[in-house]
Amino acid sequence: MPDAFSSFLTPWWPDVAAFLRMGKHGLYVWPTLAICAVALAGEWLLLMQRERRLKSSDGRGAGENLR
């Protein structure tokens, strides 16, 4: 069991440069991860913007007379 646990903490790379290089595939792996992170974070930024717009307009003009 301790062996199995330590294997989850042991990196496959000998040094950080090798980790970043990923053989010759680092040029493809890292930009892809960055694009995914930016896309998902961007989606939430747009959602937050939409929420702020909604709050600032209060969204209740039509309902004012009904109250």
Binding site: S7, F8, T10, P11, W12, F19, M22, G23, K24, H25, G26, Y28, V29, P31, T32, L33, I35, C36, A39, L40, E43, W44, L47, R50, E51, L54, D58, G59, R60, G61, A62, G63, L66, R67
Partner: protein
């Protein structure tokens, strides 16, 4: 049981309250799954014997591709429910899912291209899997364009629902394309009952897929809250909720008011 749940949350007020409760826990769940998933994917799992280190793109490409299809399936389902039973919340849920599905469809294409270049020597090829995935992305764009083009929300709901249902025909084509035709794209890494990968790779992949699910659910619930707030601006329950939010510095304190309204309904 399931149909009772659907009709219970067909009320925008109940759906709004449910979404408000679920967004944060789902976001935390996505993070809790993504962090160990990325750790296993990038740090622990060894290189693939054939594809080298570049295979690690699998951990983002597969979840993105799966979510692009599952989200469309969910959209088609809610569209069907909305068309048949005229439940307003169904259309809102489908609209809330569409942008996230479009993001995942685009990510599926982009991550696939970044995988294709080192493995196949090309960013793009017009084979069945890639072409049908591109069609799925265009279906999402068409859905969103149709939604924006219609001023009348009821008309937009119907038009989008019909497009979602028609476009669902493309889903089995995407899934079975690697079996039906001779494609450059490799076969499925995961299929019911079997996985063609080492256990630690499978664990990493399942964690990333779980994170993508939780992210999608959180994002869709957040968006459906906004859609409800935009469409139901005149509703008293929503105005009461906004008053509660304005009076309280702590947004969480307003939730019981929503629950109270829901229990009154």
């Amino acid at each position: 049981m399931f149909s009772r749940l659907i009709f219970y949350f067909a009320s925008p007020m109940r759906l709004h309250a449910l979404a408000g409760r679920l967004v944060r826990p789902l976001l935390w769940l996505a993070l809790a799954l993504a962090l160990p998933g990325l750790w296993l994917a990038l740090v622990v799992t060894p290189a693939d014997a054939v594809q080298g280190e570049g295979y690690r793109l699998l951990y983002v490409h597969v979840p993105a591709a799966w979510m692009s299809m599952f989200v469309y399936l969910l959209m088609a389902f809610w569209s069907f429910v909305g068309l048949v039973w005229h439940t307003r919340a169904s259309a809102m849920l489908a609209h809330a899912l569409a942008p996230t599905g479009a993001v995942f469809a685009l990510l599926s294409l982009v991550t696939g291209a970044f995988w294709g270049q080192p493995m196949w020597g090309t960013w793009w090829v017009w084979d069945a899997r890639l072409s049908s995935s591109l069609l799925l992305f265009f279906l999402y764009l068409g859905y969103l364009a149709l939604l924006r083009a219609n001023e009348d929300s009821a008309r937009a709901d119907r038009a989008c629902a019909v497009l979602a249902l028609l476009g669902a025909v493309n889903l089995p084509v995407i899934y079975f394309s690697v079996r039906w035709w001779n494609t450059l794209h490799q076969g499925a890494s995961l299929s019911p009952g079997k996985a063609s990968m080492a256990p630690e790779m499978l664990t990493a992949l399942l964690l990333m897929i779980g994170a993508a699910w939780a992210y999608t659910a959180a994002t869709a619930f957040k968006r459906v809250q906004l859609i409800i707030a935009e469409r139901e601006a005149q509703a008293r329950w929503l105005q009461q909720l906004q008053d509660d939010l304005n009076q309280s510095d702590d947004g969480g304190a307003a939730l019981p008011a929503a629950d109270l309204e829901a229990s009154r309904a």
